[in-house]
Symmetry: C2
C-alpha cells in the first residue's frame, strides 16, 4: 500500500485539495468563533459605576443619567405621548368622556370629577397637580387628599421618607404639604440602589405586605424583582386609619391572598369602605389598579415572564445590551417584546390582544349599566321610604358588584394579562348585581312602585356630572387658580433646594 | 516560497494531519447525511393501496384495516375507556347525576331523561341504542326520535344515503327503521375516499352549509380538511321540517355566521324552537355540540392548528409516520400533541387547561342556577294567572339565556379551546337571565306574590327527575325490554347482510 506522501507525489492535485479543504474549514470555524465572541459581548452589560450620593437619596434622574446615559435617554422617552394621537389627537384620554357611566358609579368620590388615562411616568407629578381630585388648596383651604397620595409619584418620596424618618411622618397631613418637595418624575431612585445598582424596593407598603404574608422579599430572584419593583405601585391598596392613629397609612389588602375575592373578604371583615355612594347609600370600595395581582394569575407569570420582559425589554446599542427604560405598552414595541418568544406577525399578535379586550369589554360595559341602574333603583327605594332593614343586603350586593367591576376595569392591561380571570370576575359581578336588582324590584313593589325605574340620560360626561350634582365650573375655576398661584411657588422652592445641594458638593 | 508538496516532504506529520482531519470531517458529513435520509424515511407515509369497494361504500372498518393496519389498530383503541376510571370507576359519566340542574333545564326534552358523557366513537351506535332518549320502539310503538338522529353515528350512514339515493330518503321516518342497517362504529368511510384515501366530507349537512355560505369545500386545504371532517358532526345543528315536507332535515344554522349570536338570530328569525319548556312555557333551543364553531374563535385555529393536530397527532412506528387514529383528549397524550409546539412540562400544560376550565365552570354553574330559578319563577307566575302579554318578553329572555348557557356547556372542550369566547357567552347569558328575573319579580308582585320563589330541592338526579314529573322506572323497564328483544334482532339481520356481501365477492 502506498503512503499518503507517495499518493500526493503522484497526484499533486490531491495534496492541493486537502489543503484548500482544510483552509475553508478553518475559515468557517473562525467565523463561528467570531460570532460567539460577538454574542458574548452583546450579553455583557455596560460597566456599572458605583454612585456616591451620600447626602441623600438622589431624586434627580438627570444626576443618575450622567452615569447611565442609555438608560436615562430611554427613560425620558416616556415624555413622548405621540402614540396616543391615534385616539383623539390629544395626549390625554378623558375616561369620563369616553364612558360617562363612570361618573355615576363613582358619584360622591373624586374620580367622578376627573379621570384621565394616565400619560405615563414622566407626567405623574404634573398630572397629580392638574387633576380635580387633588382639589385647589390655596391659603388655608386644604386638599381633599392626604399626603399618602404622593407615594407613587416620584423618587422624591423615598428621599422624603428617609429625611422624615418614617413612613407615617410622610403619610400624615394634607396633600399640599409636600407640594414643594415632590417634583421629580418617577425614575431611577424609585427602583434602584445607587451603590449596587441592584433593583430595590423603596416603598414601605410592599415591604410590609411581604412581612404580613411571612415572605422574605430579600429572598426573591432578580427575575421576580423585575416585577416586584412595579408591584410597589401597580397594585390594589387602601388607606388604613387605624394602624397609626389619624394617619392614612398605605396598605395592601393581601392578608387573605391576592385575588379579588380575598381582598373583598379582607375589606368586608374589617368593615372598610372608601366612601358612601350618594345615590344608593351603598358602602363602596374603590379598586385601585391591581395590575400585579391580576398578572399573577396569568399564563405569562406562570411561565416566569416578568413585567420588565415586555414593558422594558432588553435592547442593544453600540454592542451593549441594556434594559430599555422607555416603559410603555408592548404593543408599541412588539419586535422587542412579544416577538422574542412568539414567532407570529406583529399585526396578528396585536389583533390577538384587541380581540381579547373587545370580547371582555362587551360584558364589562353591560355590567356597568346594570350597576348604574341598581344605584338609581336604590335611590328610588330610599326616596319612597325604604328602611335600612330592607336595603342593607341590597347595598352589600351593590358594593360587591361594583368592587368586582372596578377591579376588572381599573387594572391596567388586565383583559390581556389575565383574560379568563377578568372574565370570571365580571361574571361574578353580574351575579351580585342580579341579586341586588331582583331584591330591589321586590322592595320597590312593596313601596308601591312596581315598574321599571328609568335609566338616567347620562349620554355625555356633562349630563352625567350634572345628574350626580357636581358643580364643575366652580371646581375647574378653583383648580385654575391653584395651578397659577400655588404650583409655580412649589416649583421655585424645589429648584432652590436642589441648587443648594449642588453647591454643597 | 515552498510548495505544499515540499512542506509535506520536509515534515510528513503535516501531511498526515491534513489527511486525518479530512477523514474526520468526511465521517461527520456521512453521519449528517445518514441522519437526513433517516428523517426523510420517517416523513414518508406508508404506501397507500388503492381500495376497490365497488359494490358499496364499505362501512366495515376491519375491511379497510386489512390495508391500513396501523391506522386501524389505533382506531380501535378508542374502545379503551380505562382513562375514565379516575372519575368514578365507570367508563360512563352520568351528567345528570353530576349536575341535577340539567334535568330541570331540559325538562320536557329527551336530555332530562338520560345524558351521559359520550364514551367515544367506538361506542356511538351502542350508546345511541342504550340511551333513554331514543325510547323503546317495540312492535308498533315508535321511537320519539327520527332517523336523522343516526346521521353522525356510523359509516353505515353514507352507505345508506347512497343506497337510498338522497339525504331526505335517509332522514325521513322513525329512528327504529334504520336500526338493523346502522351497526358499524364510526370509522374509515366517515372521513375517507376509498379510492384516493383523501379526506372526504361524507355528510350532506356540511356540504350544504358551505353551499349556503357560497364557499367551495373543494377549494379548502388538506390542513383545513383535517378539521372539516370533524365539523361534519361536532357542530351546532337542528332539524328543519320545512325544507322537505315532513322530513326532519339536518341543517346547520350558519347562514348569518358561525357565532352564538348569529345562530340565535337565525333561529329567532325563523321562529324555530326545539321544544316548549313545561315549567316556564318558554320556546327553548337545545344547543348541540358547537365544538367546531367555538374552535374557530380560538388562538389555535388562528395559528392554523387543526383538530387532528391535537386529537390525532402524527406518530411513528417502524420508521413509518402516520396519523394516530386513537381519537382522544390531547391531555391523555400531551407528548405527541401539546408538546410538539409547547416546550413546557406536561403537568404544567395540563394544569393550564384545568385552570381555565375551573374559572369558567364557576360562572357556568351560577348561570345554570339562575336559569333554573327563572323557570320555577315563571311557573309560579303562570300558576298565579299571568297573561301571555306579561310573560312573552320574559320567556324570550329565558330562551336566550339558556341557549347561551347550553352553547357554552355543550361544546366539547370549549372552555379550553376558546376560554375568552365561552366566558363572553356565559356573561351575555347572565345579562339575559337578569332581565328575565327582574321582570318576573315585577309580574309576581303584580299577581300578589312579592317574595322569593323557593329554589327547588334538586340535589340529586332522582329528586330533579321527580320534580319535573318523569316516571323513570317505567322508562328504564321499557328500555330494558327493547334492548333484550329488539336490538339482538337488528344485529342478527345486519350480520346476515354483511356476510352476504362477502359471498358476493
Amino acid at each position: 500500500m502506498k503512503s499518503v506522501r507517495e499518493i500526493i507525489k503522484e497526484k499533486p492535485i490531491i495534496g492541493w485539495l486537502l489543503f484548500i479543504g482544510t483552509m475553508i474549514i478553518v475559515f468557517l470555524i473562525g467565523l463561528l468563533a467570531s460570532s460567539i465572541v460577538e454574542r458574548r459581548t452583546e450579553a455583557v452589560f455596560a460597566y456599572s459605576p458605583e454612585l456616591e450620593f451620600e447626602d441623600r437619596i438622589e431624586p434627580r434622574n438627570e444626576e443618575w443619567g450622567k452615569y447611565f446615559p442609555r438608560q436615562y435617554q430611554s427613560l425620558i422617552e416616556t415624555k413622548d405621548t405621540s402614540f396616543r394621537s391615534k385616539y383623539n389627537g390629544s395626549s390625554m384620554i378623558d375616561m369620563l368622556e369616553e364612558d360617562p357611566r363612570l361618573v355615576v358609579l363613582w358619584a360622591g368620590y373624586g374620580f367622578s370629577k376627573d379621570y384621565n388615562q394616565s400619560r405615563g411616568h414622566y407626567y405623574a407629578v404634573e398630572d397629580l397637580r392638574n387633576t380635580l381630585r387633588t382639589g385647589a388648596p390655596i391659603g388655608d383651604k386644604e386638599s381633599p387628599m392626604p399626603n399618602t397620595c404622593w407615594t407613587c409619584k416620584s423618587p422624591d418620596v423615598p428621599r422624603l421618607i428617609d429625611e422624615l424618618g418614617s413612613p407615617e411622618e410622610f403619610y400624615k397631613g394634607s396633600w399640599e404639604e409636600h407640594g414643594d418637595e415632590i417634583v421629580n418624575a418617577i425614575g431611577c431612585a424609585d427602583c434602584h440602589d445607587p451603590k449596587t445598582m441592584q433593583l430595590k424596593i423603596t416603598r414601605p407598603a410592599l415591604l410590609e405586605a411581604f412581612d404580613n404574608m411571612d415572605k422574605d422579599i430579600n429572598q426573591v430572584s432578580h427575575q421576580q424583582m423585575r416585577s416586584l419593583v412595579c408591584a410597589q405601585c401597580h397594585v390594589e391598596y387602601y388607606f388604613n386609619k387605624d394602624m397609626v392613629k389619624g394617619v392614612p397609612y398605605l396598605k395592601f389588602p393581601w392578608d387573605n391572598g391576592m385575588t379579588v375575592d380575598a381582598a373583598e373578604e379582607y375589606y368586608d371583615n374589617m368593615g372598610f369602605k372608601d366612601w358612601t355612594h350618594p345615590l344608593s347609600k351603598a358602602p363602596m370600595l374603590k379598586a385601585q389598579h391591581p395590575g400585579y395581582e391580576l398578572y399573577q394569575t396569568s399564563v405569562h407569570a406562570k411561565r416566569g415572564v416578568s413585567c420588565a420582559d415586555c414593558h422594558m425589554p432588553y435592547k442593544s446599542e453600540g454592542g451593549q445590551k441594556f434594559t430599555d427604560h422607555h416603559i410603555q405598552s408592548p404593543l408599541n414595541n412588539v419586535a422587542n417584546s412579544c416577538q422574542v418568544c412568539h414567532r407570529q406577525d406583529a399585526n396578528e399578535l396585536i389583533s390577538d390582544v384587541y380581540e381579547r379586550q373587545d370580547k371582555i369589554i362587551q360584558n364589562r360595559d353591560e355590567l356597568e349599566k346594570q350597576i348604574v341602574h341598581a344605584h338609581v333603583e336604590a335611590k328610588k327605594a330610599w326616596d319612597l321610604g325604604a328602611t335600612e332593614n330592607q336595603m342593607n343586603e341590597i347595598l352589600q350586593h351593590i358594593r360587591h358588584a361594583q368592587w368586582r367591576w372596578d377591579y376588572a376595569a381599573a387594572s391596567h392591561g388586565g383583559s390581556f394579562h389575565a383574560p379568563v380571570e377578568v372574565s370570571r370576575i365580571i361574571s361574578t359581578g353580574m351575579t351580585k348585581i342580579q341579586e341586588a336588582r331582583i331584591k330591589l324590584a321586590r322592595v320597590l313593589a312593596d313601596l308601591g312602585h312596581n315598574e321599571p325605574v328609568p335609566y338616567p340620560d347620562i349620554s355625555t360626561k356633562e349630563k352625567a356630572q350634572e345628574f350626580v350634582g357636581l358643580e364643575m365650573e366652580k371646581l375647574n375655576e378653583e383648580k385654575q387658580e391653584f395651578l397659577e398661584k400655588v404650583v409655580p411657588q412649589w416649583i421655585k422652592k424645589a429648584e432652590k433646594r436642589e441648587s443648594s445641594w449642588d453647591k454643597e458638593s
